[in-house]
């Protein structure tokens, strides 16, 4: 098992190198001159040149690349010009915010989507099947920022049930000491239950927004896969042997229907992590998506490169995890390098 994981990781190295080169070149190819941008509106030509020199953008591309990769080898992702902070530190601070939100959103989504999909598959054509169809269609056709804004409008602005969309914690609570970076866990470790409640209530709306969006692929995939499995021979055999419908569905059918669902889950997760930029914007969430987009707007190279690299690493790890999960769920799937 360990050697297989090692092998898989080794295979990821060429793609990571590719990512490094491509993002470096792409960010350099962006229009806009960061030196002119950061020299400010009033800068003279000399001032712009001065700044360019300070930032090292006057050097030939290849030299910049060598410097970038050697910094990278030392774990230094450079410094963001827009926020003025080291990129590695910022990603480290912001990744948990995005991950906490995405994971919770995904959990909410799974809790609703899988039972819905299973029920819809066992009773095709019934009201629950229609409900499944309507929710998934609605979920996939509403843009996330729209759902987010509607939720804020209704639950915060009109009803006043939800807290102000001001990020991860209410303004007057201070963040718990960082252990995992996940506020829900850290507040519990610090035994600060008031802060836990605040963090949790801040999470509800954005997580629900993400859940509504990701409901569709999971529920549809569960339903389709369950339908296929329920029509197969071994289910017929199980039924014919007089097993209870619950046992047939949960133990036999569901487990076999899981594989495509897991694949979808991994896709949905990685997609959400990168694509929740809009949710982060709406809820003033200090995550990595909004960070990367802001950097992109300002032609700020380092954070964009850092972001793409982080995402690439996460994809590699996620895929590995999914492959391992396959083996656990279905013994017929063997990890092979």
């Amino acid at each position: 098992m360990l050697t297989l994981i090692g092998k898989r990781l080794l295979f990821a190295i060429p793609s990571l190198i590719g990512v490094v080169i491509v993002t470096f070149l792409l960010t350099r190819a962006l229009p806009g001159d960061p030196a002119a941008y950061f020299a400010g509106p009033a800068a003279t030509k000399e001032a712009v040149d001065q700044i360019r020199k300070k930032l090292g953008f006057d050097k030939p591309l290849i030299e910049q690349f060598v410097r970038y990769t050697s910094d990278l080898a030392h774990g230094d992702l450079g410094t963001s010009l827009t926020t003025g902070q080291p990129v590695a530190a910022e990603l480290r601070n912001r990744l948990p915010a995005s991950a906490e939100l995405t994971l919770l959103g995904l959990v909410v989504s799974i809790v609703i989507a899988i039972p819905l999909g299973v029920l819809a598959a066992t009773r095709p054509g019934s009201w629950i099947d229609h409900l499944c169809r309507v929710t998934t269609t609605a979920g996939v056709s509403l843009p996330v920022f729209f759902t987010g804004l509607v939720l804020v409008y209704v639950f915060y602005f009109r009803l006043g049930w939800a807290p102000a969309p001001l990020g991860r914690l209410d303004v007057f609570y201070s963040a718990p000491p960082t252990v995992t970076g996940f506020y829900l866990i850290d507040t519990l470790i610090a035994r600060d239950f008031e802060a836990f409640r605040s963090a949790f209530s801040q999470l509800i709306l954005p997580a629900v927004t993400l859940a509504i969006f990701s409901l569709a692929p999971i529920a549809r995939m569960t339903r389709a896969s369950m339908l296929a499995v329920l029509a197969s021979d071994f289910v017929r055999t199980a039924r014919a042997s007089g097993l209870s419908p619950g046992k047939v569905i949960v133990t036999y059918a569901f487990r076999n229907a899981m594989l495509p669902v897991i694949t979808t889950l991994s896709m949905v997760f990685s997609f959400l992590l990168g694509a929740n930029v809009l949710v982060e914007k709406v809820f003033a969430w200090p995550g990595i998506g909004s960070y990367a987009v802001e950097a992109l707007i300002a032609s700020d190279f380092a954070p964009v490169q850092g972001f793409v690299l982080t995402m690439a690493v996460m994809y590699v790890l996620l895929n590995l995890l999914i492959d391992i999960l396959y083996g656990v769920i279905d013994p017929r799937v063997r990890l092979e390098g």
């Binding site: 800068a43 804004l149 602005f157 001001l166 007057f172």
Partner: protein
């Protein structure tokens, strides 16, 4: 000087709705904290806490203004609508308790009891080090200092522990005002030097992350892109102790949410909202909305005078008659701006800036002028704007495009990403564009020096060159330095008249800075930098 604050127009859903008046629920301890805390929400936050840093953005100026002291500052006067407005001509001591202006120098006596946040006393050598730093670090701070003829460290002389003298290189009326802008702030030199390195002799890396000043507030927590927390410096002596104990400044990217937060009473103050929102909030009267004109600022349509067809003054005049002025005022700005067009025909030119032109929308006249210039069938051109301010610029350009189409002028709209805008401006190749210029120092000759002078600074976006214009501008600067009012007035009137006759750029309006706050917030002051001064504010 700088561009106006972000006003990205992302219309939120919150628009047009009345909030139920349910106050937020706070536990008693929190309620206490809340009454002494000012919660500000805005789109962007600082990227650097030190204005001397490389590429410090406009929100960073606000931190510097409140956390550092300058030698002198401005008095307040009553502005439009009774809102306190900084008085360009009256100075008050800040760190200095006395200022004596001589013929070729100015001497400041420092307050003896002033201390930096870490408790070390503020001395003359800190002042010298800070001013040396401002003229030496390069980039924006050095540039701003040079606008007041402050360019060499030798100009700043330590007389004794509590006396500093600034020597003038030339007589310049802008030297004293330039010492009251944000840049010449006084930094704790010993503390910063301890944290400086060979590569970074001015300790810019250190002050980027923390404030090292003697100002009324100090930054206690800063999470870039998320929030800035500032606490009051209870030992502040450069003015009356501020009433607000704590300032929490949160970045909320969504304009609709910022409005919702204000209307729900959760946030105390916000700017950077779409004009439509400001206008609606003004109308429903639940919040206090302050709209004040930018001092020395104009949004204009610029034309590149080096290339046809805009090298022909007739074409430029035709353009000035073809602008849909009133439509822009109504549909883009919702009335929140001062018109800079349509002055009465017989109105004499004033010694003031900005002032309206005598142009107004008259398509017949435009057509006639265009025919005279030999473009009876129009021409093709491109109008460019900065996407960072798309909320205003985009509808504005569409209206201009529509209007020009009536003259047979086919206009393509070119949206330039914010990061690229300055590069494009420096190239000076855009034939037609819209932009804002606003000067920190509120003097006509200052504006004209940057925007119309033949030395062709980046703000002379039209590449306009005229010997007569240069003579008038230089004349006004010299007259101002020598206190020759008659010559000054004649020169100012002269260059305004020339600028409007030659019309290389068409003034459209003087923009407003809009700030919305809760009714219980008082003490808002308008400053030339258009950011908030927490020191005068109070809550409740």
């Amino acid at each position: 000087m700088k561009r106006r604050d972000f006003l990205k127009s992302v219309s939120g859903l919150a628009a047009g709705a009345l909030a139920p008046t349910a106050p937020a629920i706070w536990s008693p301890a929190k309620a206490d904290a809340r009454s002494e805390t000012l919660l500000i929400v805005s789109e962007g936050g600082p990227n650097n806490l030190d204005i001397h840093g490389v590429g410090t953005n406009v929100p960073g100026y606000e931190v510097s203004w409140n956390c550092y002291d300058r030698l002198i500052s401005h008095e307040m006067k009553s502005g439009p609508g009774g809102v306190p407005y900084y008085d360009r001509d009256k100075f008050k001591p800040e760190l200095a308790e006395d200022m004596k202006i001589d013929d070729m120098s100015v001497t400041f006596k420092l307050r003896k009891n002033a201390k930096f946040h870490d408790g070390t006393p503020v001395t003359a050598k800190d002042v010298k080090w800070s001013l040396d730093r401002a003229v030496s670090v390069g980039g924006f701070p050095t540039f701003q200092m040079s606008a007041g003829s402050l360019t060499k460290p030798e100009q700043f002389v330590v007389v004794d522990d509590h006396t500093v003298r600034v020597d003038f290189l030339t007589k310049d009326k802008l030297t004293i005002p330039d010492l009251a802008v944000i840049v010449p702030c006084v930094v704790n030199s010993e503390l910063v030097k301890k944290n400086a390195s060979e590569k970074d002799p001015w300790g810019l890396e250190f002050t980027k992350q923390q404030t090292a000043g003697s100002g009324a507030y100090k930054v206690t927590k800063w999470t870039a892109g998320t929030e800035v927390v500032m606490e009051r410096n209870d030992d502040w002596v450069s003015g009356p102790l501020p009433k607000i104990k704590r300032v929490i400044w949160r970045m909320v990217p969504q304009a609709g949410n910022r409005r919702a937060l204000l209307e729900r009473g959760d946030a105390d103050i916000s700017y950077e909202l779409p004009f439509k929102d400001f206008q609606e909030m003004k109308a429903n009267g639940k919040l206090n909305v302050v709209s004040l004109p930018f001092s020395n600022g104009i949004q204009y349509i610029g034309m590149n005078v080096t290339k046809p067809p805009f090298d022909n003054p007739k074409v430029r005049q035709a353009m000035a008659y073809a602008m849909p002025y009133q439509k822009i005022m109504d549909a883009v700005l919702f009335g929140l701006a001062n018109p800079m067009f349509g002055a009465a025909k017989d109105k004499p030119t004033e010694v003031a800036w900005p002032q309206p032109t005598k142009y107004f929308t008259d398509m017949e006249k435009a057509k006639a002028l265009l025919t005279e210039a030999g473009y009876a069938n129009g021409f093709e051109t491109t109008i460019s704007f900065d996407l960072n301010f798309a909320g205003v610029n985009e509808p504005l350009c569409v209206l201009v495009q529509e209007s020009l189409a009536q003259l047979g002028i086919k206009t393509t709209i070119n949206k330039v990403p914010g990061a690229n805008w300055r590069t494009e401006l420096t190239k000076k190749e855009m034939p037609l564009f819209t932009n804002v210029f606003s000067g920190w120092l509120d003097y006509p000759e200052y504006f004209f020096y940057w925007c119309y002078h033949g030395n062709n600074s980046i703000f002379n976006t039209m590449s306009y060159k005229s010997g007569e214009m240069d003579k008038l501008i230089d004349g006004a600067r010299i007259a101002a330095a020598n206190g020759d009012t008659a010559a000054y007035d004649a020169d100012v009137k002269g260059f305004v008249d020339l600028a409007y006759a030659d019309i290389p750029r068409i003034p459209l309006y003087q923009p407003f800075v809009n700030v919305a706050m809760q009714k219980n917030i008082s003490g808002y002051e308008y400053w030339f930098h258009r950011r908030l001064d927490y020191r005068a504010m109070a809550k409740g």
